[in-house]
Symmetry: D3
Amino acid sequence: MALSARNQLRGTVKSIVLGSVMAEVVVDVAGFEVVAAITRHSVEALHLKAGDEVAAVIKATEVMIMK
Amino acid sequence: MALSARNQLRGTVKSIVLGSVMAEVVVDVAGFEVVAAITRHSVEALHLKAGDEVAAVIKATEVMIMK
Amino acid sequence: MALSARNQLRGTVKSIVLGSVMAEVVVDVAGFEVVAAITRHSVEALHLKAGDEVAAVIKATEVMIMK
Amino acid sequence: MALSARNQLRGTVKSIVLGSVMAEVVVDVAGFEVVAAITRHSVEALHLKAGDEVAAVIKATEVMIMK
Amino acid sequence: MALSARNQLRGTVKSIVLGSVMAEVVVDVAGFEVVAAITRHSVEALHLKAGDEVAAVIKATEVMIMK
Amino acid sequence: MALSARNQLRGTVKSIVLGSVMAEVVVDVAGFEVVAAITRHSVEALHLKAGDEVAAVIKATEVMIMK
């Protein structure tokens, strides 16, 4: 299945910090870091761990431009 | 000033499509495209145009992980 | 592939309104309507049309509670 | 008062997990689960508990389509 | 009913620009402007017009800090 | 540098609650409170503390209207 989200950046999970509700996942994308704050439940449901091949997915309406 | 948003990806504006309220800005970041849907007013206020050096800025809570 | 977004509601596309940059997609999910504002480009890339079987996907951090 | 958010799904609170800052609220909506990550403070301010009749509220710009 | 969104800033609608799908609503809140990009449909459903007493509502997870 | 986010409300940090992953920052803006849920990491990276002069920054697509 395909997702409408315009930004899907492939990379590798570098580190994960688990809180009780939220988790922070750092993904290495072509040498720079992309950080995701998702629920801890999602980390567990996807069995996410350092080294996993993933994509960081971002809806276009969530992206700002700094100039 | 520094912004709390964890993701600030530097790149170059590749194209802009203007609607009456919204605008779509495509940024080339290290060879891949990042797409932003921002207000037309912001495009005009920043005088955004193709070729501009910018950063695509994304709050960590807006990033999902696909595995 | 699996997505970290916790909410994935299956339904059928009921109607689509296209703007120049954005589009509004109404999905019938078990008899009630879910409305998505996505880019027109995504509607075209997914070849979305009324009657399509889809899922409305929502990150948990975007859901509020009204009581 | 009425809210501009297009998606207001009525249901019943099924479970709540409290973290120190965030909380996860699962709502049963017509037999399927909708998950919200809101602040712990909001859970306390609304006196949310399992069994409460609520609505899960989502702005249309936060909804993606998967096909 | 009460909403979990932590930020509810009362003000007066100053101007509205309608696109085909989206609309931009500027609200005067205690002398400064808050801008909302909502669907055109919501503007029509709420019969929003300049001069209306409203609240600009923002979920805490959508607020960033610049220092 | 300038940011496309339309809402940048200047104020003073009133309080901070730190969780393991997320943090809640309350900003006093002209006498009313604006609440931000950002990552703990961002609070530490910005050395945020009560009394700091900051701006609460919000993308227009994240603002709803209640009437």
